[in-house]
Amino acid sequence: MSDEDLHRIELRAQTVEELRSFLDGIDLDLGCRPAVRRRSGEMVMEVYATMSQVNGLRVSRSASGVTVSVVENATQTGRARQAEVSSENRFSSGNRLSGQLPPSGLGIKE
């Protein structure tokens, strides 16, 4: 694990205002977009941060009423997922196995 690895962090609070106050003045990776969802009566959002950022948040904002949980090391997960990226060109006209067969989607044709 590198110090630069981004971790997926879940923030939980009672209100959106608590989350806004918690995030005020800090520059975190808010994912694709800043999104808050209601879950089990709480307001939940996900952000991405290095572990040093997470530890800093836990110290500096401990009285905020916001719960900070590390879900996973997202950089590490992403590195593992790179093995699930195709390493060839399955649809190239030069592919000796397929010629230029088009992809077939996942929908069932019926």
């Binding site: 959106v16 990226v85 019926e110």
Partner: protein
């Protein structure tokens, strides 16, 4: 079948166009990326690009969001194969009849641009998995080596966030060229990737619907992202400089104008999309306005919808962002489930769009 790399996405589009020449046509995009890649879109539908009601669907704007590009290629492959064979399509519990598929392909123009940001996707898939932006060196002139602009902050829709938004709005944007996530770029639409999306909207002037597929929340969002919506005061809008510096706080007197009829049309389309997703997968996505915790500037959906307000020669484009799935890079089996959700949601969306088109122009076939 693993995630597609960027060369495969373009080859897949080539192969689809070659295999289904009566229903599909490649649309080469004019602006090469900073790493020299040329992108392509695929048009599905009538051969007359000036006719018909077009739906433009983009994916792969953010590099680390791997599922949307695969989903759009899958969507194209499914529609073309089913149309060619005269069959319906099924995703989980969501069934579309052969007549549904025929009408989507023959009554609409579907313009799919699966990989808007191929340089970024390649970097994310081979080097830094959490990379978000494009790969242009933005400060080489000053001896700095900052790389990348956030394409979804680079569109000409309140792009100059410091001028347009309240200082305490928390707008999700940065003018720091070294910002790792949300650098807006040196000018609106400065990036080749952004220009390619704009070009598509201009190339297909009858575009009436726009969907930008991202990941993840999961949710379906409709315009606006600037501030909370209101339907009563047309003068309180992004075009009015009187409100510069006051937008984006939420819960205050400024709200962004949107005609009530558009809210209804957006709701109809978004509900249809969500119902398709719910029936195909585990659960419905949330359906909300884009503005929530913070406003966004320079986003693709707001740009597409804003165009007809800025110049009434442009047609109205009802716009959405889909945040699919529950992680950026799920394992491939999980990604397949998300792809089914996206495809089902987008076909259901197209059927609702077809209904809107029939109400305004009558069936074209």
């Amino acid at each position: 079948m693993p995630y597609m790399n960027v060369e495969e996405i373009e080859a897949a589009l080539d192969a689809l166009a070659a295999s289904y020449p009566d229903a599909a046509q490649l649309v080469p995009l004019p602006n090469r990326t900073s790493e020299g890649r040329q992108s392509q879109a695929l048009r599905i539908g009538s051969a007359d690009v000036r006719a018909g009601n077009a739906v433009v669907i983009t994916g792969g704007v953010h590099a680390r969001e791997w599922v949307p590009s695969d989903a759009l290629v899958n969507l194209a492959a499914d529609l073309l194969e089913a149309h060619s064979r005269g069959t319906g399509l099924r995703y989980g519990g969501q069934r579309f009849l052969a007549e549904d598929i025929r009408s989507v392909v023959e009554e609409l123009q579907l313009v799919l641009f699966p990989c808007v940001n191929p340089d970024g996707r390649h970097h994310s898939q081979t080097t830094e998995p959490m990379w978000r932006k494009n790969r242009r060196k933005v400060r080489a002139d000053l001896g700095l080596h900052c790389v990348g602009v956030d394409i979804n902050r680079n569109f000409d829709a309140l792009w100059d966030f410091r001028r347009h938004f309240a200082p305490d709005s928390g707008v999700s944007a940065s003018d720091d060229p070294c910002h790792p996530q949300v650098y807006v770029g040196p000018a609106a639409a400065s990036e080749a990737e952004t220009q390619n999306v704009v070009w598509l909207l201009e190339q297909f002037p009858h575009t009436r619907w726009f969907v930008d597929v991202h990941s993840y929340v999961p949710a379906v969002y409709h315009t606006w992202g600037f501030d909370e919506n209101q339907t009563s005061d047309p003068s309180m809008s992004f075009r009015n400089p009187f409100f510069d510096g006051r937008r984006g706080r939420g819960n205050d007197s400024y709200r962004e104008y949107i005609p009530g009829e558009d809210v209804e049309a957006l709701r109809e389309l978004g509900t249809a999309m969500n119902e398709g997703i719910r029936t195909a997968g585990e659960a419905a996505y949330d359906f909300e306005q884009s503005f929530s915790l913070y406003p966004t500037s320079g986003a693709s959906d707001d740009y597409a919808y804003s165009r007809h307000f800025v110049d009434n020669a442009n047609g109205k484009i009802l716009s959405f962002t889909v945040e699919c799935g529950r992680s950026f890079q799920p394992s491939w089996p999980e990604a397949e489930d998300v792809i089914r959700e996206v495809c089902a949601g987008l076909i259901a969306f197209c059927l609702a769009a077809r209904e809107q088109a029939r109400r305004t122009t009558g069936p074209s076939v």
